[in-house]
């Protein structure tokens, strides 16, 4: 097994909703991330998959220390980065980069591409001379598939196309040779015909530099294409984790199964069988105890699922599931309750 680059342990991030001046009630809590643990290995891409509001982006932001967690630790090079300050933090900053969803948002509109690229160099004191920095910038651009790099240096973000912007963002991430990268939905804003190019670029770079990537996406097909391992998140928790193909072809958790069955496929002839799921995602505010998925689970067992929070258990090699009754569901011992007339609570 490759070396562990990053170890995330029991990460929690709670947000308190402010209630205003006159409320003496306890503030509402949104548990955006509630006990997420995973390892990131050398040269590996892990896909963080889930629907809107499942906490995947928050996890990514905590990992790069854009936010501090409520609890838990993120161990990088033997140090808990959540507690880093001063020089150690600066050192950590040099080791990590993030690629954002919207390349237009993630590039400063008042900076030329060149300025955007050398900003991390200036901040981190990389590159002695101006020429050296120009060279680094050009190299990074060409690495990101923008050739010749010099042509782009002088442009502003609004002067280049969306795909090129995302490539610039990748070039910026690469320029300081990070030890790992967090990519937050890097292609969801891009047009279909451009997406594949960016995805392939990231795959190539990973191969070339053995660069681990945490790949956050809501699109499980993209996650499958990119990642070695997939973590499926639901309301702040990881409900299933395992090697990509194992998750895609042999999903265990009722949620994952429902999710996968709902993914449309560009094949008009495919017969589409739906795994049932109840209702909509509940509000993340003040969640009841027990399994997060209980309210929507068709295998819901009273007395267990609404009481005890299931732990991640290894069912198959490297394939973990957080469900009390996964074996019984698989064996058919517990049958799905018929989906009632859909109730939509929000």
């Amino acid at each position: 097994m490759a070396e562990v680059i990053l170890k995330v342990e029991n990460l929690k991030k709670y947000y308190e909703l402010s209630r205003g001046l006159l409320s003496f009630k306890k503030p509402d809590v949104v548990k955006a991330v509630d006990g997420v643990s995973f390892d990131l290995h050398e040269g590996e891409i892990i896909g963080l998959v889930g629907e809107t509001g499942c906490g995947k982006t928050t996890t990514g932001r905590v990992v790069v220390k854009l936010e501090n967690p409520t609890a838990g630790s993120v161990i990088f090079k033997g140090q808990d980065i959540t507690k880093l300050e001063g020089d150690a933090l600066r050192e950590f900053r040099r080791s990590v980069q993030m690629i954002f969803q919207d390349p237009f948002e993630s590039l400063n509109p008042r900076f030329t591409i060149f300025k955007t690229l050398i900003e991390p160099l200036i901040v981190n004191g990389i590159g002695e001379t101006y020429e050296e920095r120009v060279d680094l910038a050009v190299k990074a651009l060409e690495e990101a598939g923008l050739k010749p790099g010099e042509e782009y240096l002088d442009r502003y973000p609004h002067e280049i196309s969306g795909g090129q912007r995302q490539r610039v963002a990748i070039a910026r991430a690469l320029i300081i040779n990070p030890k790992f990268i967090v990519a937050d939905e890097p292609v969801s804003m891009l047009d279909v015909s451009i997406r594949a190019g960016v995805l392939n670029l990231m795959l190539d770079l990973k191969e070339k530099y053995n660069l681990p990537i945490i790949f956050i996406t809501h699109d499980i097909a993209v996650a499958r294409y990119m990642s070695d391992r997939i973590l499926v998140m639901y309301l702040g928790k990881v409900v299933e984790e395992g090697p990509t193909e194992s998750i895609i072809f042999d999903p265990l958790h009722p949620y994952t199964r429902a999710l996968l069955s709902a993914v449309p496929v560009p094949d008009p002839e495919r017969k589409h069988e739906r795994i049932p799921i109840k209702g909509d995602i509940p509000s993340p505010i003040n969640l009841p105890p027990g399994c997060r998925f209980a309210s929507r689970c068709v295998y819901f067992q009273k007395g267990v699922c609404d009481v005890k929070d299931p732990e991640l258990r290894e069912i198959k090699k490297g394939h973990f599931v957080a469900c009390h009754f996964v074996e019984k569901i698989l064996s058919g011992e517990i049958k799905a309750t018929r989906e009632e007339k859909t109730k939509h609570e929000s």
């Binding site: 980069q97 993030m98 954002f100 948002e105 991390p120 901040v123 101006y130």
Partner: protein
């Protein structure tokens, strides 16, 4: 080498972004217009000395601006107006003090009164026009033989004058609408009367009471009115309508002349006004009665009804009509030889003119004779003239009037000597008998009087005749000195008027009228005023051009300061959040709900009229909106991914704020700066207009302020229009630039 390359690089990028911005900006027509106007004004400001013929403080020479000014108004029912016109005055003694002649009143004994407003506006300090159209008609009781305006009080331009009128048996107090609100029936037919009322402007220390006395036979009735013009803060307050007291004085002898009333509010002790006197000339002796008035300072200061007690009159002194030669005489006329410095310690005199051409002075306090001289003896050439009357004048000098046939002699008498001044210049001889009381014109230092021959004389203080006017059509009534137009900013003038035989109301100013503002054109001094002049004779065009300097400076500096402050606070507030944010936002909220102009006025008044103070005031009250906007912008930028990207790269907070966020709010700052300049220009003009402008600054706002305070709004369009147009244009220009710029940085999304 590397540095220069880097410099070139960033300069190139900067130039390119400027060029791109300009390309977008250029598409906006209104933006180009705005920019054009601004450039025009900048050129004006920079090259001001080269495009103006004068300096801002050059005033047109008097040859251009001084003219005589006569108002001649044809009256309806001309036959009935038999008394001299009365001026209605407006006294304001607070800052910006002036005494204005606001209207002219004519009345007759068949109960009609007409009031002609003069000028056009109560802020006017000179008469522009006597309104002919629909003079206000009032009714008063019939049989009125005299009507006085007894000192006025003007509350916010609303007349609160009090009039005293009497017929042969009745006596009335009339309010400002000439409605009788107090009516006194006298037990006798009025034979003699005297009235004492005070002009608070000329005699601030006695402008408190009105006293009026009527005599018949051996009876005299004295009414005392509390007529206090000023309270203890130096502020005017209303006249009290109820007489304080009516004193009956029954002399043992017959009253033969108007009593002399003297009130001395300076002699206050133990809450009493002491040494007030009424001196009654009878056929036997001069009797002085004293009386005291009780005061209550606290209540007075508040202006409530003053509970006062007037003591019973008591005889202070009596003198018999014998001079120091032992000759007896009858008094023709009595007056005071008092002056401004009159105070309890100084014994001013009662001066009596006799039927034996003598002038005799008595001490006011005890009646002791202090001098006696033959009026004619002191100047042999005048000895045939018969003394007729004495009048008090300024400076303690007595104006004496004597006649010989159809000629009159006017002379000034020194009360301490009783003689006509010896150098022979202090008298003159006029055609006809004097028919009006000589009035002193403060503005021209001349006396005005008229004679039955129909001439008006302007006499210098040494009695040299300065000017003589014949009133066209002849005077039906004696001239009456109507009043002053005094002001701390404008010139002084004194008007006099009469009703002519041909039924016209005739008015003239003694010194001639300043006719500035001058309309555009070429003038006798060979000067050409392109846009005319203002009331001070200053060239409008010059002011307009120089004004652009101050406007640009005020606009830009005020807007820049407020925008910088606003941006800075917005940046801090949005970026740091937490309690810093809460604090700044609360302060911002408070500033946003301040009534801006009102607070600005108080602040400007507190700080004093100075251009930098005004800039400060504008800046300090207009940053709050910008703070809000910048904060919102920072908050939205903070969530943008490029800020996260910079943070991940390790940028410090300071760097995030200054390098990443600040340049992104800068366009917004610039945008609001542009709107801010527009607002600051208007605000400065408003402050100036309301009198908080810098009196030393040449600004368009001050031009309008001068226009307003000198009252030429309605007769000087060449003065009214240019500053307003330039203010509008410059403000509009900056506003247009702002809007055009807004389109550059916030292109409105086209629909699909």
């Amino acid at each position: 080498m590397a540095q220069s390359k880097k410099w070139k690089e960033s300069r190139r990028a900067f130039r390119r972004s400027l060029k791109n911005g300009w390309q977008t900006y250029k598409r906006s027509k209104i933006g180009l217009v705005g920019l054009g106007i601004i450039i025009m004004f900048v050129v004006m400001a920079v090259f001001a000395p080269f495009i103006t013929p004068y300096t801002p403080y050059y005033t047109a020479p008097s040859v251009d601006i001084i003219r005589g000014d006569i108002y001649n108004i044809t009256l309806q029912n001309s036959a009935s107006w038999i008394y001299a016109p009365v001026g209605i005055m407006n006294y304001v003694t607070a800052p910006g003090a002036n005494i204005n002649l606001t209207s002219v009143l004519i009345y007759n004994d068949i109960g009609q009164v007409q009031i002609f407003p003069v000028g056009y506006n109560y802020t006017s300090q000179k008469i522009l026009k006597i309104y002919l159209k629909s003079p206000t008609n009032y009714s008063i009781p019939k049989g009125i033989t005299s009507l006085y305006e007894t000192g006025t009080y003007m509350a916010s331009f609303m007349n609160a004058n009090t009039f005293i009128a009497n017929s042969s048996r009745n006596f009335y107090i009339l309010d400002s609408n000439l409605k009788v609100y107090r009516n006194f029936s006298l037990p006798f037919t009025i034979q003699e009367k005297s009235i004492f009322y005070n002009n608070p402007f000329i005699m601030p220390s006695v402008g408190q009471y009105s006293l009026i006395s009527f005599s018949h036979g051996n009876e005299t009735i004295l009414y005392i009115f509390y007529n206090r013009q000023l309270n203890y803060f130096g502020m005017p307050q209303p006249i009290h309508k109820i007489p304080l007291a009516k004193l009956y004085i029954n002399t043992s002898e017959r009253v033969i002349n108007s009593p002399l009333i003297y009130l001395n509010p300076n002699d206050v002790s133990n809450g009493y006004l002491n040494t007030s006197q009424i001196i009654i000339p009878t056929n036997n002796s001069l009797v002085s009665y004293g009386f005291n008035i009780k005061m209550d300072p606290g209540y007075e200061a508040l202006g409530f009804n003053v509970p006062q007690v007037v003591s019973e009159p008591y005889v202070k002194w009596i003198v018999n009509y014998t001079d120091d030669h032992g000759q007896s005489y009858l008094p023709l006329s009595i007056t005071y030889g008092y002056d401004w410095g009159d105070s309890p310690g100084i014994q001013s005199t009662v001066v009596v003119g006799t039927n034996t051409n003598e002038i005799i002075g008595y001490s006011r306090a005890d009646g002791k004779m202090v001098y006696d001289k033959y009026f004619v003896v002191s100047n042999p050439s005048l000895k045939d003239y018969k003394l007729q009357a004495l009048y008090p004048t300024n400076g303690g000098i007595i104006f004496a009037y004597a006649t010989l046939g159809d000629r009159s002699l006017v002379a000034l008498i020194n009360p301490s000597k009783g003689t006509v001044q010896s150098n022979g210049t202090f008298y003159n001889v006029l055609e006809g008998a004097l028919n009006s009381i000589p009035t002193y014109d403060v503005g021209s230092s001349r006396y005005i009087t008229s004679t039955t021959a129909g001439d008006v004389y302007l006499l210098q203080p040494n009695m040299v005749i300065n000017q003589t006017f014949s009133i066209i059509g002849g005077m039906k009534t004696p001239i009456n000195g109507l009043g002053n137009i005094l002001s701390y900013t404008a010139q002084m003038g004194y008007y006099y008027g009469t009703i002519t035989n041909s039924g016209q109301l005739y008015m003239q100013e003694t010194i001639g009228t300043n006719i500035a503002p001058l309309p555009p054109g070429k003038y006798p001094s060979e000067n050409t005023y392109i846009l005319g002049t203002d009331a001070y004779g200053r060239d409008i065009w010059t002011w307009l051009v120089y004004g652009s300097r101050a406007e640009l400076v005020v606009g830009i500096v005020a807007a820049l300061s407020s925008v910088l402050l606003g941006t800075f606070l917005g940046l801090i507030s949005g970026f740091y959040g937490g309690w810093v944010d809460s604090l700044i936002m609360r302060i911002t909220d408070i500033f946003l709900s301040l009534p801006g102009l009102v607070i600005m006025l108080i602040l400007a008044a507190s700080l004093g009229p100075n251009i930098w103070n005004i800039i400060f005031v504008i800046a300090i009250l207009s940053w709050s909106g910008i703070t809000r906007i910048i904060r919102a912008q920072v908050l939205s930028l903070k969530t943008r991914a490029f800020i996260d990207a910079a943070r991940i790269s390790g940028a410090s907070k300071y760097r995030l704020m200054m390098v990443h966020i600040f340049p992104n709010v800068l366009p917004l700052t610039f945008l609001y700066m542009s709107f801010g300049v527009s607002g600051a220009i208007i605000t400065e003009a408003s402050l100036a207009f309301l009198g908080m402008g810098d009196p030393h600054a040449v600004t368009w706002g001050m031009m309008l302020q001068y226009l307003w305070t000198t009252g030429h709004v309605l007769d000087a369009p060449w003065w009214l229009l240019p500053p307003g147009i330039t203010i509008t244009l410059l403000s509009l220009a900056f506003y247009l630039v702002g809007r055009a710029f807004d389109e550059v940085i916030n292109p409105r999304l086209r629909r699909r």
